[in-house]
Symmetry: C2
Subunit: 534 residues, 2 copies
Amino acid sequence: MTPKANYHMLKPLIERQLSAQTDLQRTAIIDVGSNSFRLVVMTYLRGYHFQLTDEVRESVRLVQGLGATGKLSREAMAHAVEVMRLYAAFCRACGIDDIAAVATSAVREAANRTEFLSRVQRETGISVRLLSGEEEAYYGYLAAVNSTTLRDGFVVDLGGGSLEITRVQDRLPRESVSLTLGAVRTTEDWLPSIPPTKEQVARLRKHIREQLAPLTWFKLKGSEQLVGQGGSLRNLARIAQKQGNYPLDELHGYELAANDVRKIAKQLEGMSLAERLRVNGMKPDRADIALAAAIVIEECLRHAEAETLLVCSQGLREGVFYERFFNGNADPSAPPMFKNVREASVINVAHLYHFQERHARHVAHLSLSMFDQLAALEGDSERFSAAERELLWAACLLHDIGMNIDYNDHHRHSYYLILNSGLPGFTHRELALIALAAKYHRKGTPSTAPISAVLQAGDEARLLRMTALLRLAEQLDRSRDGAVSDVRLEPHEDGYLLTPISDQDISVAVWSAQLHTDIFRSAFGKPLAITYNV
Amino acid sequence: MTPKANYHMLKPLIERQLSAQTDLQRTAIIDVGSNSFRLVVMTYLRGYHFQLTDEVRESVRLVQGLGATGKLSREAMAHAVEVMRLYAAFCRACGIDDIAAVATSAVREAANRTEFLSRVQRETGISVRLLSGEEEAYYGYLAAVNSTTLRDGFVVDLGGGSLEITRVQDRLPRESVSLTLGAVRTTEDWLPSIPPTKEQVARLRKHIREQLAPLTWFKLKGSEQLVGQGGSLRNLARIAQKQGNYPLDELHGYELAANDVRKIAKQLEGMSLAERLRVNGMKPDRADIALAAAIVIEECLRHAEAETLLVCSQGLREGVFYERFFNGNADPSAPPMFKNVREASVINVAHLYHFQERHARHVAHLSLSMFDQLAALEGDSERFSAAERELLWAACLLHDIGMNIDYNDHHRHSYYLILNSGLPGFTHRELALIALAAKYHRKGTPSTAPISAVLQAGDEARLLRMTALLRLAEQLDRSRDGAVSDVRLEPHEDGYLLTPISDQDISVAVWSAQLHTDIFRSAFGKPLAITYNV
């Protein structure tokens, strides 16, 4: 067997090898939340790559009644202990020893928190770490900064019990606050009836504004971003997507408009519970708290003077995970974060689908070589921007991952996998361009339908340019042996002349590439000739 | 540590593992066809599982001019030798040593075949095996019998040069014939202009009928099936699918109606080449031969008195492959075929996506146990048919394959993978039911949109029953440890009582299953209670 074997065929072998690896770890993270409990299993090679491999969720409503009595109710506590007992049994059955359980607002606020935590410890064997408001905010921040390109701005994490707001500067947390404005908490305290009265809604808004008023630092400036987290926010974003017939089935990276939040809050205000349940996109077990959640988010956006909020579907759980994931870094003083989220995302996804690394990187090398030479020859900084170059790089690295599904139609499978991977750190528009370029890397005239709604003016032409260079590079490495080490591009008559550089027999490459010069002409408006001097 | 650094640490381990694996084989199969040449690479564990891992195609039209001169033209031969030289370079570059090249009708008919074959051997090093008409028919038959449930009936393989018809009885080939009625050959000989005159079409039909007339054995009887193969047939089927807005993107297993063939032949007859190229689904390099192909297929169906033809997208290449794949079987006298195509398909697909075999088989065991007990208790042989039982088994084995893509939404990924796998041997209706049951194995109310067009009356209810049993079994093995060894089902009040059998702590299983008793009630019209006696 040669090392050139197709990697996707070898997945079982690789996996067997991986599971023999002592570095492969599994951690169960248990989020003892105020609205729901969730257990997620992350499987990972520390600092290398990770994947969510199991998930169990139970709606517990631990915070129920807390506002009135200051204590966790007997019923809520019994339910909570029962669920934790089941989670412990689940971990035992799955052979998971490493368990990180954290409790947040509801437990933090409860007068009987010590009794609860020791009862869980005694009856289930799970030791739950109680997070302070600052710690809760920190883990949300950690998830945001590892899954978005947030550099300066804010992270808003709306839970069942509390709302955390963190100011981020140069990717580091600067200040944070934890307010008891969680979706369940505000529903119980301020909107006890469905639909609520106008006065109840007005009083809730007044309360939120009073809480936010002291936060003079919570104002969006210039290019700062507002990133939002939490299940109630995801629910809201899903509703907005459904109402706008959004073409992608992906929440992470979605730009939720302040206008849409206002509109949905207005709609929900007049509805009965039954009517809320019929709202397209509504999660049934969040219907009762959806209005309060929408109002809290609306008021946050108003206070921060933000037009949109970037949805981050990672949060507390992932934050706790990232701390473990980066623990043991070569540089212990480095913050637990990826240096470049976009690059890490592409490489993580490429590895998850077992890309043929040498071929993918060689296609990127050839594509970018043509891109750079064209940029110099055409002298057009708009068409040859750094942003377009990065998208082309990502498309090259990921163009073949669909082979992990099947060779037949693997271009179409790559498109499906890229769109579904979400590629944290890229906008949905960028995600769509990368996926589309991969879809057309073998043949066909690039079409942006049915996801053109996320694209901008000029993206059709951009996609055509990306596809043309990716496709030519793919053909130049058609036999995946890297025989064409580079290419030279120079003016030739009314177009360009491409000369592959090699010291081997590259007839397959030249023959393959020559079949695809038409798309170059469509993309760049000039003919391309390919020479081959043996 | 960056992800990249770690991957490089892993690579030597992977490669060591690869070189230890001696069973994994790769074969390049080269089909020196009359209309096009194709090289496919199959990667496989002999007798175990296989996958197409690469493909190169070139339109060569070797048969061009053969009818007039009886010889391969100088141009066609030069083109052919050039392509073979490239294929040889491709195999060398990819490190593939095992090459099986076969030539068919065009070479067989040509007076200068010996010159051609020795020139290919001399200039490319590839030794091409020239197949007789019977051998060509045999390999088509072998592909059909290994990828469909054909037991009794006919295989019709339409190539560029010839048409092979094989009669199959009890899965064995009984008689076959090879006629020079290939799509390129009949176009050249009978329909030289586009559009043709009415007289030209009438003369072609007369010629085909004269050729078919002696084949008194080529008549479909009772439950016999007609299976069709070849690129021109796939082209025709794709056009029929597009015209009927067919919801699946899968050709293999498609039932092409004789009426649609007639309709398409009629449409094409009056069209210019430019008009043909605009027909939705038309392959550009088959547009010129599409009318002759449609007429040959139409006449075959008429002669055989068949209403439909089952499209088989495998053919000669796969037939040659299957012979290698089964070579070395324990029983050398056994024909090179799967004992049960449907079972082999499910298991092949399950392995390709690295299913968790223990869990999948245990879910099947628990589902079928409930199915069998319900069948006995309800005494309803229609709702509890062997066919439904087999679909349930397949859905159980494949329900989690989407995890190979991502844990998140893995039910949706399973649906995508199952639909795209095609599951040779199952009809599209069965394929859809299996995919849909997998899609709903975790949550949601099963809906057949947007592929309901391939389903029949009663399939909504059937899907609900399959989903209910799959989902309960999935929950009973929620922690994937097989702790619930079986279940007992008995009448209880106005419904049923389910008792999980185990000697372990099965609280997770019971708790999980109890959350999903509603769907049982919807599916079977009776409530389900679950007991748990520790």
